[in-house]
Symmetry: C2
Subunit: 365 residues, 2 copies
DNA sequence: CTGTTAGCGCATTCAA
DNA sequence: TTGAATGCGCTAACAG
């Protein structure tokens, strides 16, 4: 019946002119059936619809909006790696809400790789599909920056410092310092670190500080991805690597939970024999009782939304607007209280112990 | 210097014609500086830029795209209540990823109220800002449905059955039945229920089944919002309401965690003296060891994305495509094993006990 | 009920 | 380097 010839002969797809011709009507009629006007005979409507089906007609949004004189709400595109679940939740939600309050649309893009990122950015440039850009946890080349600058598309960077771009980051080095301070204050002698894949800057920063403070020979391993299971596998390696360990710091709360599972399975007393510290303080960590380094993730999203709103309102965004937020170690049930008075924060409440789980070692995978 | 007179005198904002006139150049030149062409004198470029600043020029996206002959990627708008965090994460992520894989943009809209919903839908209609719609956990009037049908905007409904609309829901009644079955099988005599605000259909369904099965006089209270704190407050009320309680079922995992906190604070043995069951099985519930009713949230997002993709590809979506997914009770550490052989699922692994926490009652708020 | 006509705001030849 | 003219695909009067 239909050979899809339309799409091959008509670059950009068929238009209402094509439909009108094929259905033997005027373009206005085509427009009418598109918009569901009641002022059309059932017969002609069907004819038009058939023509549209036959030709695989897809109305052009831009043209519709232009002709309909609709207001054009600004749209910001946010690129972020969804896999890092906590970040996705914690940042995208406030971002979406704050932007919505400012009547700005948000389009989320999952970025799985560098190629992915470039593909998405290329498309954005080609289609000019957004008026502003939010980059999360990722870098961007200088030419790219220039490209968007030329197009007048302002951008902010979340969780990644970028020269010339307004960015919001957290003080990863200080967070790691606080964690190690607490651990030493509470008697830890040999501290290991479960890091993450180095393509994430936050992980690199945390790892670098750990190495600087704990020594280049301090036990360290990297989780292979972002899941709890990876954290657990890493813990297994770490424990094997360094049997004398009495504390584990993780680049991420999930890794810490994975480590906790392994320790639990081995019947290791936490925090008695082994202390564990995470990083991020994602939701539910207070319930679980994980000692961790709290990162104001909510503030990241809000800051980004605020800057984007300003930029869209005409303000110029430079990296002088950049901020580096403080983080705070939160002592809960997976660490012992510090003996020496340190400068770390003591959780006010909610720090319930994860409990002394008496479980026989079983799955020493 | 500038009185913003432009915006008041020119409906829809200034155009390149206005800029061109004010800068004393042609529209082509304005276009060139907009797009960062190098073939423009610095002087004229500055003049144009100043004119743009003075008039508060905002290029019209639709026009740019139309003129640039850019391809127009379909866009789906998803409306969902962000406050129900677990749902947001669990559904929006797979939705976003699956749509991205199909080269479809996703615009998320937070819906806080019925007014909010209508406002957003009105805008979508007015601006024709999407080619397809995904409604999550919310109803929609018949006229609305018709309106979108006329515009040729297909829609799917997630977590809410809607006549005439392809929807994906879960079997809340059966989930509640399974939970109560298990509880009875494990010796519970008096079961209470912490429900949620009745404007959420899922809560209403769970509550209705509870009432039908446990009796109209069974202890029941409703959390006032969606947080753990609300759950805890509800638990306090429930405990007061019915001192003889030996099991609590919750409409939501968060409520269950809140209840657990309260019980923990009171030093009540769980699951010895009191069993607790949640609903949803959101992330980390396995780690925490909460017995709950697992809902395949991931599948909801994927189903929605798949249907949307089909619809965008030309298929027609009717409610004959609708599905109601099964749910399964997952026994973990907050319930005792069933004595009678019931048909409930026994968690294969990962069901670590939440532990017998020996903690003195302290915060009997 | 239907066709004709004129823009919508911008990018882009083509001349100048 | 710059400007005038043309068209992108569609909607919305305005006629018929």
């Amino acid at each position: 019946m239909d050979y899809e010839s339309a799409s091959t002969t008509m670059p950009g797809g068929p238009t209402i002119y094509d439909i009108a011709r094929r259905a033997g009507v005027g373009i206005a009629t085509v427009s009418r059936v598109m918009n569901g006007s009641s002022r059309v005979t059932a017969a002609t409507r069907d004819a038009v619809k058939r023509a549209m089906d036959d030709l695989g007609f897809r109305p052009n949004r831009a043209a519709r909006r232009l002709a309909a004189r609709g207001p054009n709400r600004p749209r910001v595109a946010a690129l972020m790696p969804f896999f890092s679940g906590s970040f996705y939740v914690a940042v995208s939600r406030p971002l979406a809400q704050a932007l919505a309050a400012a009547d700005i649309d948000l389009v989320l893009h999952d970025v799985k790789s560098r190629d992915d990122k470039n593909r998405i950015l290329d498309r954005i440039v080609a289609e000019r599909s957004c008026e502003a850009l939010a980059l999360c946890s990722m870098g961007i080349g200088a030419e790219r920056q220039e490209q968007f600058a030329r197009l007048g598309v302002p951008m902010v960077s979340v969780d990644y410092p970028l020269a010339g771009v307004a960015s919001i980051t957290v003080d990863n080095a200080d967070g790691m310092r606080q964690a190690l301070d607490h651990l030493r204050g509470s008697g830890a002698r040999r501290i290991g670190f479960i890091s993450g894949l180095p393509h994430a800057l936050a992980f690199r920063e945390r790892e670098a500080t750990f190495t600087a403070l704990a020594g280049a020979d301090a036990p360290l391993t990297r989780a292979e991805s972002m899941t709890r299971e990876d954290g657990r596998a890493a813990a297994v390696r770490l424990l094997e690597l360094s049997p004398g360990l009495d504390a584990i710091v993780c680049a991420n709360d999930l890794f810490a939970l994975g480590a906790l599972e392994e320790l639990r399975a081995r019947g290791v007393d936490v925090p008695g024999r082994m202390q564990v510290i995470g990083f991020d303080d994602q939701p539910l960590m207070d319930f679980i009782g994980l000692s961790t380094v709290r990162q104001p993730m909510h503030a990241l999203g809000e800051w980004a939304a605020a800057r984007l709103g300003e930029a869209l309102a005409g303000a110029r965004l430079g990296d002088e607007a950049s901020r580096r937020l403080p983080v705070a170690f939160v002592a809960r049930a997976t660490t012992r209280p510090a003996i020496t008075s340190s400068s770390t924060t003591r959780a006010a409440a909610g720090g319930q112990p994860i409990a002394r789980r008496r479980r026989a070692a079983k799955e020493s995978a």
